[in-house]
Symmetry: C2
Subunit: 275 residues, 2 copies
């Protein structure tokens, strides 16, 4: 199901700057019980991204109503929202009047095995680096070649995620997730000032840590920091919280902090889905 | 005029990875006298880019024939070719069988004043940096937010181009051009191992330098190197060779080396266009 500028279409004009240059942003939203979860957070992040890219955002109440319209009736699904700078301008120069393109699309929820959540996943380190670019760091823009090429490094179905470094050898995040690890009872997550995406679930986990009195360290970390952790997990809005049971040759238990966060998140989702 | 996968269409499926992630490449080709100029060079660069991005290229003879088909009858035009990884795959993961999308589009030649070529243009330095990313350096991929945002720094019609630095303060290129400068009879151009696009005209100018015995220095340069040059010019396939007559507060004459290169390039274009 698609809603392109409010119409039921799934073809975009090739002159759209989203196609020409990746000139836009997107949100990937979990749908449960006919409701888009944490919709306000996603829309707020989209707004912040539009401000950074100088794209006048579509009307928020319109976005909200279209999101709810597409989600209604879907028990479990994934709702994607894309906003581009639209058509026009000469070359890279933007048009004098920007008319943003908005696209909603509803997708089936991926059929991940329950064991990914209960027992954990296998991850690897990627060769492809995330370029250091503070101006674009944190926002979920449409220039995603780094992630595409990092993901292309492995075909092995027994590996679920790859972790990426920046060009300073700092560990940043997974190809499609944010990264957390626990050491001596303190929750750690990479600081995303240079690259990476500030995930919605990442922010929620950080808030849990503060709310429930978990020590939290948000900083630059390296490969050894992760390999020497007690627990490791990755997060995104679609997968939730996946423990990492193995990273290259290093094995990890699914620890107490990971379980607590899974539980708190499940509770938050139930509230959002009005279950 | 558009040719999308050989059909006269100008709408692309929103699931195309070129739209979703900027997962593809493009070429911008000058058309003169019904002929796409330096077509083989453009197709070779596209091939090299496809290899780097692991995209199986469309059949070369098909690309060539469609390029000639669209160009025939156009006295002066701009032919754009885009090749994406097509539709499919789950998230960033590419499809098992990649069926690339190819799009040709023909555009009117921009109506630049003759004075840009004869007297030169005004340029400025940009704040937006080119991120250092050797894996993507040189190729003309579709992730162009850096160029979009650098170009958005100025509206002033009296400034024609902005020059960009990388995060090591090395001067790299313009938002839509490559950069050359001459000092004491030696031609200089930034080395593009970390970022930037290896332009077709850039390569032709380098070959001129070698062929006609001009000293050539391809290296890392900084702001001062450019400001202290005797001559400065920028190049791309559509504009040709534009002298820079003013860069911020620094003025430059249009020098002998620039004029020679303009002349050699005009001759090469005449040959290509069979005039």
């Amino acid at each position: 199901m698609f809603l392109l500028n409010g119409e039921s279409r799934h073809c975009v004009d090739v002159s759209d700057r989203g196609f020409q240059y990746g000139d836009g942003l997107f949100e990937t939203i979990a749908v449960c019980n006919g409701r888009p979860l944490f919709l306000q957070r996603h829309l707020n992040r989209l707004l912040a991204g539009c401000r950074r890219l100088l794209i006048p955002p579509p009307d928020l109440s319109l976005l909200e109503s279209e999101a709810r319209q597409l989600s209604a009736g879907a028990d479990r699904a994934v709702l994607k929202l894309m906003v581009t700078r639209g058509i026009g301008g000469r070359g890279y120069r933007q048009p004098d009047q920007i008319v943003p393109t908005r696209l909603f699309s509803l997708h089936p929820s991926p059929n991940y095995p329950d064991s990914y959540q209960t027992d954990g996943i296998v991850a690897r380190f990627c060769e492809w680096r995330l370029a250091i670019n503070p101006g674009l760091a944190g926002i979920k823009h449409m220039n995603r070649l780094e992630q595409v090429l990092a993901r292309a490094e492995w075909w092995d179905e027994s590996v679920q995620e790859g972790l990426m470094f920046d060009s300073n050898d700092c560990i940043v995040e997974g190809t499609m997730s944010n990264l957390f690890f626990a050491k001596a009872g303190i929750l750690h997550t990479p600081l995303l000032v240079n690259c990476g995406i500030e995930g919605i679930l990442r922010q929620i986990v950080i808030e849990f840590a503060i709310r429930y009195g978990l020590g939290l360290a948000e900083n630059h970390f390296n490969k050894q920091d992760v390999l020497e952790a007690d627990e490791v997990f990755v997060t995104n809005s679609v997968i939730g919280v996946w423990p990492v049971k193995q990273l290259e040759n290093q094995c990890f238990d699914v620890g107490r902090i990971t379980r607590d966060i899974q539980q708190w998140y499940a509770g938050a989702c139930e509230e959002e889905a009005n279950l």
